[in-house]
């Protein structure tokens, strides 16, 4: 599903990823653990084609290698759901409109399906009662759940989560991880990037460790999902 072959990425003098090769299969759960600036975000940005590798090949589904055209890049991004640490919700739109926007962008469903699908996604993340609220009126945990609803509403085959609990307090972080585990159990592949080992422990799945842009596998390729426990807050 996702395959990196000898991928390196250089930003000027700095080598963000160094000869990284790995593979993620359909329905798999993978956690990329690494300290800040280890290359996690670069890895996720390479998957979404927000940046291009300096060398090496990346294959995502049927999209294989090289620079994609803008139209193909958009098409690729529509096949996955991405969750960001800073949520990236549109502040002038309600929770419902943020989720509905993703359905419309996806373009897979008719206009009459937009409302029921969006409401169902919000129900799944426990935000059914807050559909009319603006993101600014929600807690950080609720905002992240809204971002997750937006990521899953089109039922993508893969979910990318870049530090999804980074801005959350322990209880909300546990809720978000539990939600991601449930999404994985329902069949989606989930790739989670985090700096926090306790988040990686709580999330489970195959663990990859990124250190100074180099990747090493910390656990064998399998997918297990222990029940989510509340990770300790950062710095605790």
């Amino acid at each position: 599903m996702i395959q990196f072959e000898h991928v390196s990425k250089r930003y000027g003098e700095r080598l963000a990823l160094d000869d990284v090769s790995w593979r993620m299969n359909e329905g798999e759960a993978v956690c990329v653990l690494g300290h800040s600036a280890a290359g996690k975000t670069t890895l996720l940005r390479l998957i979404t084609h927000e940046t291009q590798p300096t060398s090496g090949t990346i294959a995502i589904g049927t999209f294989r290698g090289g620079r994609l055209s803008r139209a193909h890049r958009a098409l690729l991004r529509r096949t996955m759901g991405v969750i960001y640490e800073d949520f990236r919700l549109l502040s002038d739109r309600s929770v419902f409109e943020n989720v509905a926007l993703a359905v419309r962008i996806g373009g897979c469903f008719s206009e009459s399906d937009v409302i029921p699908r969006s409401l169902r996604a919000l129900e799944e993340v426990g935000l059914h009662g807050k559909q009319a609220a603006l993101p600014g009126e929600l807690s950080y945990g609720e905002r992240q759940r809204c971002a997750i609803a937006r990521a899953i509403v089109n039922r993508p085959a893969v979910i990318l989560a870049d530090e999804p609990t980074g801005a959350l307090e322990p209880k909300s972080a546990a809720d978000v991880l539990a939600l991601l585990q449930r999404i994985h159990r329902e069949g989606a592949a989930v790739l989670l990037g985090t700096t926090r080992p306790e988040v990686a422990d709580a999330f489970g799945g195959r663990r990859l460790i990124l250190e100074e842009g180099r990747l090493r596998e910390a656990s064998p390729a399998h997918s297990f999902m222990p029940p989510a426990t509340a990770p300790a807050p950062e710095g605790a």
């Binding site: 927000e50 958009a74 098409l75 991004r77 549109l90 002038d92 926007l101 419309r104 962008i105 206009e111």
Partner: protein, 285 residues
């Protein structure tokens, strides 16, 4: 989906009212300038057409030409050049007498020296200097014809005037089109930059350029529609003011008015689509 794009355009319009109104007024100014030239062209065209209607060619007949020969000549003229009216020597004298008025002068002239003639109204396609000159040359070849007169210099000047007016209208049209493209490009850039976060987020979610651009294009089209209607209103006011001082100053006919609005909208659609393709490349990675 279409309703969604219209809602998005309306949302953007409300969020950036100042920018939208500035754009509409800038476009209205450019379109008014274009409209003034259209108005001048239309009225000049009407005046020239009116004068052109009076363009005729006078074919003087030789005294030997009999009735049958004249009829035959008229048939050939009808076939090749246009309609003709026979003016006998007596009619020509009567007209001349009416024009001169003074019977003493007419007495001094003595016998009627005027030849019979045919007044030829040429087909519209032949009502230009080059064609008229060629027609005159051909008509002079007929044995029944003694001479042909059509006021060549006057027709040549009239044609030159019409061509100049047309060239000026095209030049102004091109300048206004460039002004519209310039205004739209800069406004759309500002609009996209003002909504940079939204555009970036939509790009990350996999929105196509078409999806992101459509509300901006609709907004630009609405602004142009408002601007062109405002320009037409100003032009109507100008025409009414001129009509009180000058006879025969008319407003643009419906076809021209619709073409004016339609061209502005078509140009806006093309210019904003092209501009957004460029702008989105720099904003949405």
């Amino acid at each position: 989906m279409h309703l969604f794009f219209w809602r998005e355009a309306w949302r953007s319009f409300r969020a950036h009212r100042g920018l939208a109104l500035t754009t509409a007024f800038s476009l209205a100014a450019a379109l008014t300038l274009c409209g003034i030239f259209l108005l001048i062209c239309w009225n000049a065209g009407q005046a020239l057409a009116w004068i052109g209607d009076r363009r005729e060619m006078i074919v003087y007949l030789s005294d030997d030409a009999g009735e049958a020969q004249v009829k035959s000549l008229q048939a050939k003229i009808a076939e090749l050049y246009g309609s003709s009216t026979f003016v006998s020597r007596a009619q020509a004298w009567e007209e001349f007498s009416a024009q001169v008025g003074d019977p003493e002068i007419l007495k001094a002239v003595g016998t009627n020296p005027l030849p019979a003639s045919l007044r030829v109204r040429l087909r519209p396609a032949l009502q230009n200097f080059t064609a008229m000159e060629e027609c005159a040359r051909q008509l002079e070849q007929f044995p029944e014809v003694e001479g042909v007169r059509f006021g060549g210099e006057w027709v040549r000047r009239l044609d030159a005037l019409y061509q100049d007016a047309r060239r000026a209208a095209i030049a102004v049209g091109v300048i206004v089109a460039l002004a519209i493209v310039f205004v739209l490009h800069n406004t759309l850039r500002l609009a996209v930059l003002a909504r940079r976060t939204q555009v970036e987020t939509m790009t990350k979610l996999g929105a196509s350029d078409h999806f992101i651009a459509m509300p901006f294009v609709i907004e630009a089209l609405l602004e142009t529609l408002a601007a062109s209607l405002l320009a037409l209103l100003l032009l109507f006011g100008l025409q009414q003011a001129l009509a009180q001082r000058m006879d025969g100053v008319g407003f643009l006919p419906p076809v021209w008015t619709l073409s004016f609005v339609g061209s502005a909208l078509a140009l806006t659609w093309a210019a904003s689509s092209l501009a957004l393709t460029r702008i989105l490349r720099t904003v949405g990675a």
